[in-house]
Symmetry: C2
Amino acid sequence: MGRDDCIFCRIIAGQIPCTKVYEDDAVLAFLDIGPISPGHTLVVVKPHVRHLYDGDSDVLEGLGSALGRVAGAVVEATGADGCNVLCNNGRAAGQLVDHVHFHVIPRRQDDGLFPHWPKFEYEPGQAEAIAQSIREKL
Amino acid sequence: MGRDDCIFCRIIAGQIPCTKVYEDDAVLAFLDIGPISPGHTLVVVKPHVRHLYDGDSDVLEGLGSALGRVAGAVVEATGADGCNVLCNNGRAAGQLVDHVHFHVIPRRQDDGLFPHWPKFEYEPGQAEAIAQSIREKL
C-alpha cells in the first residue's frame, strides 16, 4: 500500500520512528517534529492520497471522526485554550509532504501565532458567479 | 435543533440568506462573506456543536466526507493551485462563530497569504512527555 518515497507511508509502515499518540484503521497520529506549539500533532490518513479531495469517502469519514477525538485529547492534555485543525493541499497552500495530513495545533490566548487573516470584500455579483461555478463541479 | 442566537443555526434554518454551494444531511456549505481569497467557502455541520472535539462521531464522519468533496469542487471551480482546509476551535484559535465550521481557502502559488509558520524544536524528552499525556486523554 505504502510508497517507498513517501515519509508518511514509511512512518505508517513502521520503517521510520515517530512519537505516536493514536492509531486506528483510518489514521495514524503523531507529534510534528517541527511544532508550532507544544503538542502540535499530525493526523495522517493511512492510504497514500495526495490531497484531501483525492480521498475516498470511507477514508475521509474515518479521518473526520479521528480528527475530533485527537484534537480533543491534544487540547485537554496540553491545557490549551483551543486549537487550529488545518490541512494544506498543494505546495501553494504550504503542503510539504504529499500525503494527506491534518495539523492539530494547540493555541493559547494571545499566543501571537497566525495573527494575519487578510480578508477582502467581493464585488457585486462576484460571489454568486463563483458559487455557481463551484456548484457545477459538485 | 438550531439556536436562535447562532448565526450559522439561523443560516441552516433558512432564516438568514447565504450563497449556498452544497448541502447534505451532515453539512451546509456556503461562501464566506469575509473571504481571504475568491471562492473561500465555509463547511458548517448541521447540529449546533461548538468545537470539533464536541461533535458526535456520526457528525464528524459526514463532515470529513463532505470536506473532501467541497474542497475539490472549490479548487476546480476557482482554478486554484491548492487550498487550506481549516477549523478554528476557541477564541484563542480565531473561532468567531461558536458553531463548528471548516474554512476552505483556495490558494495560488506565491499569493502571499499565511506566510508565517513559526515552528520551534522540542527540548530532549519534551515530545515524549507530551505525547504520553495526549495518549492518556484518548
